[in-house]
Structures are given as structure tokens and as C-alpha cells.
């Protein structure tokens, strides 16, 4: 509901703790404390279990007969021990319940505190004044319930704390990527300084095998840098002067110097950490329903427990009060608001973390849920499916050798500023062709170029230009048509008034686009391509990559309208674009995927940012979203099913049918098990790996 707020500026922490270590310390301390409490409760629990029913074991039964003073004395000792367990191992339930009560709220602590407290009170009253009860079967004690329930629930909490720590592992890994030191040049001297002391503008040296400390721009030297930890791309990226480098990535074999541009909280890594943390703390839309339910859940369980007590007291078999107490206590204990509350946040935290590991930044739970349900994805052609840079693809020479044609064409084009020209010149230079100087260069917009090279007149352009110059193109018209049909831009070349050949330039398809589009279709998503190109070129590319639907001749300002058109067909639409020019279309789409450039991760308009430029990221993002939402649904179904089966059983619906009444001990076991199951299921997501996409 962003309408309720605007410009929600994050002042950030008043104090800025290192989130990773703080969190790690917190959860480990909590875990150790809970484990100590568990051991104490378990140590008291074992003898308490046996001594509560001494007549089950013949030896003990003889020594501690029912009603004997000796048994009474043992039970008094047990009562004291049970109180110690409540006070130590169960302290968080009572303090939590009390604090919640002061806010007129109830939570899991309230239920456990009530359940164990009632069992202890009932036992103590029965022990202190058996005369209050009509017969001796009423005066059994339930100290075992108090102690064992506390032990089991505390153990469950401890396991949960441990597993929760694991679910935020991704953040810790990310923070762990940060380099500790940097080698900078100050006043002409090379110094190793802690990374916190690097300032923007510093000259930083990177040696082979070094971790790049902060974001910057290469000044001199070349190398290949392993950026997989940030972008998810496994192949090292070549770096030369002018290229951007990302802090926390790993230099391979070369050495270079770079100028630090972004340091501290401005670096790509810091932004990624912030984005991931925000997303992990956001909510999946499903959870809003769960929130409503859990708001009513705990008091509703109390009402059920009271109702159960009354029904069993009024209608149950003798001894009615004992049954009524058992049913009320079991009902309080078996309810697990925790499983309900944890079902979505646990999966979301793990799923968003998994995305970050693969170079995919999911902004929120909303984005994640929407991405899991997309019907169609619109891909911007230029820069997304293709490299966005034209390259020379074909040379058709008639008569003169191919290299001669290229040399002539490149010589003329060198004087031109057209982007297509650069593609031709680049290939000529790659082949080490010496380009002769040109005279009387003339650019004819919309037609082509002409110039004098080594005394010969070279014309390069479309058919209209050649016809104007009186040159017959018919012998190559067939090739021209074929190349145009392939989505390329062919140009005729003529030397001294005679047709010399064709050169074709095209924006080429990225290596993995075809495979990614196939994988998207495999996920049941319709793929559309959006481009400003004419329909024929667009369709040629579409055929090449296997796109179903072509939205051609779309002006940049109409991209958002095209997204809307598809949405009006009732489809949930994802838009993949570059984040800056495509911002309105990304915002219009149900899910906007921004193809990042590595360092620019906090793209506002995007719901999902793909740090690497590959389309495979879209596939992985959708797969992660689907896997996470599947996990959320499993957890929610499990938690709802557990509570809606467990509560009636605890209330004793099975008793009239098959004579089975759940014991509070079983309830405590089930309750702990259910919350641990939810957390463990969410942790299964950690093992998720993107599918290998075959190219």
C-alpha cells in the first residue's frame, strides 16, 4: 500500500551495529541459554515421569504404594523441583506471557505458561488439601506434565532458534565477502589500510588473487575478475581501463590500479545487503491473511480450553475434574501459533537469500509472490535479448577479395559517426587491415556514405543511393533480401561505379538468450519481445530466439502502454528492461525485472534486479519465486492442518468415538515438532540450485 506513504526515508540506525555479527551473537547466545534450560528440565523430567506413576513399575509400586506418606513426600519434593523447572527453564514463558498480558495480547508464551501453570497448581492443591476432592483418583499429580512439557517446548525453541540462524545465512555470507584491507597509494606511498579507511577518489592497487576492496573504475592495467559472488555469473569478466569494478569481487591473474568511486555503505555490496535485509523483513501477501487469523488465534484457543473444561466437567466420565483439567491443559499446549506465524517469514528469508546468492535481488515478498505467478514476460530486445551493439555479421564480395572490400568499406566508414559504421571499422582493425586515408567524404542521411579512397570512389549504402549513382544492384538483390530477412541491416558497396559486394551489420543475440527463452516457455510463461525495430527485423530476431509474440515498432514512451495492453488480456505480466529507459514499463508491469550492470543494484523501478546482464537471471528469479511460494504454501498448509486437527483431538473428539484422549505430553511433543518442521521445511530451500540451462 505505497499510497499511504511517500518518500519513506530510512534514517537508519541511530547506532549502526554490524548486523551480521550482532545477529549471529544474539541467536547463538539464545540457543545456548535455551539448551541449558532444556538440560535442566530434562534432568528433572526423567525421575518425575517415573515417580508420578510409581505403581507402573512393580518394585517402585511396592515401595511407594498409592496413598502412602512416603509417596506424598516424594510428590512434595517433585512439586518443588517442578516449580524450579518453571522458574528457570520456563521463565521465558511466564515473563513473555506477563508482558503480553500487560498489552492485553496473548501469544505462544501465554498458552504454554497457562498450560504448565495450571498443571502445577492443580497438582499442588491436590497434594496440599486432598480433602477438597471427592475421591483419591482426583488427587493424582501432574508435575510430570509441568516439567516434561516445559522441557519439550524449550527444546523445540532451541532447535528453532538454531534453524532460524541458518535461514539468514545468506546475509552473513554476503557480509563475509567484504575485503578487510585495501592497498592504496597516498602521497606517493603504497599503504595497506583497513577497508573502512578507503575514501572515494583513493587510488587502489589490486594484485593477482586480491579481493577488490571497494567499487571503482580501472585506471591502468588489465585483468579478469571473478564476479560470481555478486552477479552469479561464473565466467570471469575482463577488465581494462575505464571499466567498472565491484567491491568484494576477486581478481584473478592480472594486476591493475583503480580509482575508488563508492565506499562504505555506498558500495554495491552494501546496497545488496540492505536490499536483501529489507526484502527478508517484508511480507508475502498471503501472510496478511495469516496475520488476521493469528490475531484471533491465541484467545480463541483459550476459549476452546475453557469450553473443553466445562464440557468434560459436565458431560465427561469420572473423575470429571481430572479429565477436564487434562483436556484444558492439552488444548492450551497443542495449539501452535508459532508454526502459523513462522510459516511464511522463514521461507521468504531463505528464498530471498537464495536469490542474492545467484545475483538476483528480490525487493519484497510482494514481488516474490507476483513473480511466481507470471503468465507472460515481455523482453526488451535491445540490450536484453541482444547485446545492444551492432556487429559486422556478413561480407558478400563479388570479384575482389573479401578483405579488400572490407578495407575499402572500413576506410570510408571510419570517417562516419554512424553506430553501424563503428561495427565495420572494428572488424577491419581486428584483422589488422591498414585503413587508407579518405578524401571528399560525404554522409547522406538515410542513404549511406561515399568518399574517395586511394583515388577510387567508394559508395556504401542502401539501394536508393546506388540507384541514384546509376549502379545496378540486381545481381546481389537476392542476398540483400536474405540478410534482411535474418534481421540484419545489409548495405551495398560499390567501387568506381561497379557493385563490389554487400556488408551486413546486426545486433547479435546474446549467447544464452535462446536457452533462457526456451526455459521461460518451459515454465509456462508466454514470452513477448518488445522493440522499436521494424516488424521484419523484429520477427527475424524473434524466430531466431523462439519468441512467441512480437511487439514491434514501439516507441520508447509507449512501452508502458504495451505492458498494459497485455495486462488487459488478463495476464500477469513481467517486464524485463534496463531499469532507466524502461522505468515506466517496469513500474507498470506486475513484476519489473531490471537487468543491472553490476554496480548499479538499487534500481528503484524494479521489483527484481538481475545483477548480471543475462536473461537466465529471469528464469532463475521465477524459479526461486515458485520454489519459495511452494514452500510457503507447504508450511501454511502444514501449520493450518496441524492446528485444525490437533485442537479437536486435544479437546477429546476422539474419546467418544475410539476412547482415545491425548496426553499433554504428546501435545507438547507435537507442538514442538510442528514448529521445528516448519523451520526445517523452510531450510530445505537452502539446498535449492538453479537448473542448468543447456545452450
Amino acid at each position: 500500500m505505497s499510497t499511504a506513504s511517500e518518500s519513506v526515508v530510512w534514517a537508519g540506525a541511530v547506532e549502526k551495529p554490524d548486523p551480521a555479527t550482532a545477529e549471529l551473537g544474539d541467536s547463538q547466545r539464545e540457543y545456548r541459554a535455551l539448551m541449558r534450560k532444556w538440560w535442566f528440565a530434562a534432568a528433572v523430567g526423567a525421575p518425575t515421569m517415573i515417580l508420578s506413576y510409581p505403581w507402573i513399575l512393580p518394585v517402585l509400586g511396592d515401595w511407594l504404594p498409592r496413598g502412602s506418606d512416603r509417596l506424598r513426600a516424594v510428590w512434595v519434593a517433585m512439586g518443588v523441583a517442578a516449580l524450579a523447572v518453571l522458574a528457570y527453564s520456563g521463565s521465558q514463558f511466564f515473563s513473555g506471557a506477563w508482558r503480553a498480558l500487560r498489552h492485553r495480547q496473548a501469544n505462544m508464551h501465554t498458552l504454554i505458561a497457562m498450560g504448565t501453570g495450571i498443571a502445577w497448581l492443580y497438582s499442588t492443591i491436590a497434594l496440599a488439601d486432598p480433602g477438597l476432592f471427592p475421591d483419591e483418583t482426583f488427587t493424582e499429580v501432574y508435575y510430570d506434565v509441568t516439567v516434561v512439557v516445559t522441557a519439550l517446548v524449550v527444546l523445540g525453541l532451541a532447535l528453532e532458534v538454531k534453524a532460524r540462524g541458518r535461514s539468514s545465512e545468506a546475509i552473513r555470507k554476503l557480509i563475509g565477502l567484504q575485503a578487510k584491507t585495501a592497498r592504496v597509494v597516498r602521497e606517493g606511498r603504497e599503504l595497506d589500510v583497513p577497508v573502512e579507511e578507503v575514501v572515494a577518489g583513493d587510488l587502489v592497487l589490486v594484485r593477482p588473487g586480491d579481493k577488490i576492496p571497494v567499487d571503482g573504475e580501472v585506471l591502468e592495467g588489465t585483468s579478469a575478475v571473478d564476479e560470481s559472488m555478486i552477479t552469479g555469473e561464473s565466467i570471469p569478466v575482463a577488465k581494462a581501463p575505464g571499466d567498472a569494478v565491484i567491491g568484494a569481487t576477486l581478481n584473478t591473474t592480472g594486476a591493475f590500479r583503480f580509482r575508488a568511486t563508492r565506499v562504505g555503505s555506498e558500495t554495491a555490496l552494501a546496497q545488496i545487503v540492505r536490499l536483501v535485509q529489507d526484502a527478508q523483513a517484508s511480507k508475502v501477501p498471503i501472510q496478511r491473511i495469516v496475520d488476521v487469523v493469528s490475531g484471533y488465534f491465541t484467545p480463541a484457543v483459550m476459549i476452546m480450553a475453557i469450553g473443553g473444561f466445562v464440557l468434560w466437567y459436565d458431560l465427561g466420565p469420572a473423575p470429571a475434574v481430572a479429565y477436564a483439567v487434562i483436556v484444558a491443559v492439552t488444548t492450551l499446549i497443542i495449539a501452535c501459533p508459532c508454526a502459523l506465524g513462522m510459516a511464511t517469514p522463514m521461507s521468504l528469508t531463505t528464498g530471498v537469500g537464495k536469490g542474492a546468492e545467484n545475483g538476483i535481488l528480490i525487493r519484497s515478498g510482494d514481488a516474490l509472490q507476483s513473480a511466481s505467478r507470471l503468465d507472460a514476460v515481455i523482453l526488451d530486445k535491445t540490450g536484453t535479448i541482444t547485446w545492444g551493439k551492432p556487429v559486422l555479421t556478413d561480407i558478400v564480395a563479388t570479384g575482389a577479395p573479401e578483405s579488400e572490400l572490407l578495407r575499402m568499406a572500413a576506410a570510408v566508414e571510419k570517417a562516419s559517426e554512424h553506430p553501424l559504421a563503428a561495427a565495420i571499422v572494428a572488424v577491419a582493425e581486428e584483422r589488422d587491415l591498414r585503413l587508407p586515408p579518405v578524401d571528399s567524404f560525404e554522409a547522406l542521411p538515410g542513404h549511406g556514405v561515399m568518399a574517395a579512397v586511394e583515388g577510387r570512389t567508394v559508395v556504401l549504402g542502401n539501394r536508393r543511393l546506388l540507384e541514384r549513382e546509376g549502379i545496378d544492384t540486381s545481381s546481389l538483390d537476392g542476398d540483400w533480401q536474405r540478410l534482411a530477412d535474418e534481421g540484419k541491416t545489409p548495405m551495398y558497396a560499390a567501387v568506381d561505379g561497379r557493385l563490389a559486394g554487400l556488408v551486413a551489420v546486426a545486433d547479435t543475440v546474446k549467447d544464452d538468450s535462446v536457452a533462457a527463452i526456451r526455459a521461460l516457455k518451459g515454465l509456462g510463461v508466454e514470452v513477448a519481445m518488445l522493440t522499436g525495430d521494424n516488424r521484419r527485423t523484429a520477427e527475424a530476431i524473434a524466430r531466431q530466439v523462439g519468441v512467441d509474440r512480437v511487439l514491434a515498432e514501439v516507441l520508447p514512451e509507449d512501452k508502458a502502454a504495451e505492458v498494459k495492453k497485455l495486462q488487459l488480456e488478463g495476464k500477469r505480466v513481467g517486464m524485463v528492461g534496463d531499469g532507466i529507459n524502461d522505468a515506466p514499463a517496469l513500474t507498470q508491469a506486475d513484476v519489473g525485472f531490471a537487468i543491472g550492470t553490476g554496480t548499479d543494484v538499487a534500481i528503484e523501478a524494479a521489483d527484481i534486479t538481475l545483477i548480471s546482464g543475462s536473461l537466465r537471471g529471469v528464469v532463475t528469479a521465477i524459479e526461486i519465486s515458485k520454489a519459495t511460494m511452494r514452500n510457503v504454501r507447504q508450511n501454511l498448509t502444514g501449520a493450518f492442518a496441524y492446528n485444525s486437527l490437533g485442537l479437536p483431538i486435544a479437546l477429546g473428539v476422539l474419546y467418544p468415538l475410539v476412547g482415545v484422549l491425548l496426553s499433554p505430553l504428546m501435545a507438547a511433543g507435537a507442538m514442538s515438532f510442528s514448529s521445528v518442521t516448519v523451520v526445517s521445511n523452510a531450510n530445505r530451500l537452502r539446498r535449492w540450485r538453479p537448473k542448468e540451462i543447456s545452450t
Binding site: 547506532e15 529489507d278 476459549i303 469450553g307 459436565d314
Partner: protein
């Protein structure tokens, strides 16, 4: 029905009524955030088994700064989420953390822990 059954039934009904009244029929009064010299409406919120105060009243169209201080180790409360404002924060134990919001529409906006167990309300007038 025996007299003790009647008594237990009546007591049970009374207890149910008490639960309904105590947990569901509470009136939210809340604390009004103070306008500070920096132009923010500020309020401190203690996080300990719940939010104190759990209802903060603010005026619309003036920036709000809520400073949370968590004084417990239970991991339940380590996050606070303002769903309507798409804001959240991690609350390290014992350290004040500020969240700034700009309410533009009147209404009641809940803030909760990540699991929705602890609840508070930001009332925008």
C-alpha cells in the same frame, strides 16, 4: 445438572466473556507523538514482550520518527515491520533504532514483529 456443574458452567462462560473482553474488546487509546524542533513527530517505543506504547497517534503529512529500543533477547521481536509503509528494521538488543515514515493518509496502520505476534498500531489522524 448438579450444583457444582452449574457453577463450573457459569464460571466457564464468565471466563470466556473475560477473554473476549480482555483481548478483543480493548480500546486503543495510545500515545500522541511529540513534535520536535527538527520537524518530526517523535515517539520512543520499548520492545519487551510487546510494544510500549503499542498505539502511537500522529498527524498526517508531517514526518514521523519512531525510535525502537528492544530490551529482550527473544528472537521473536528482532524485526519490526510496517507493512503499509513497506518499511522494516532489525532491532539489535539494547540499541535504539529509528524508523522514519511519512504518513499521507489517515487511518490505522499496524506494525508487528515479523511473525505478527507482537502488534502495535500507528494511528494517523
Amino acid at each position: 445438572m448438579t450444583p457444582d456443574q452449574v457453577a463450573v458452567t457459569l464460571a466457564g462462560l464468565a471466563a470466556i466473556a473475560l477473554v473476549v473482553w480482555f483481548f478483543w474488546l480493548k480500546k486503543e487509546e495510545g500515545m500522541r507523538a511529540m513534535l520536535t524542533s527538527s520537524g518530526y513527530q517523535e515517539a520512543m517505543i520499548l520492545v519487551k514482550g510487546g510494544y510500549t506504547p503499542d498505539t502511537v497517534v500522529v498527524a498526517r503529512s508531517t514526518p514521523v520518527r519512531l525510535v525502537f529500543r528492544r530490551e529482550e533477547s527473544s528472537p521473536c521481536s528482532e524485526q519490526v515491520v510496517f507493512d503499509a509503509f513497506e518499511k522494516s528494521a532489525r532491532l539489535p538488543e539494547g540499541k535504539p533504532v529509528a524508523i522514519e515514515l511519512m504518513p499521507t493518509e489517515p487511518g490505522s496502520f499496524p506494525f508487528t514483529c515479523q511473525m505478527g505476534m507482537l502488534r502495535g498500531t500507528l494511528v494517523v489522524e
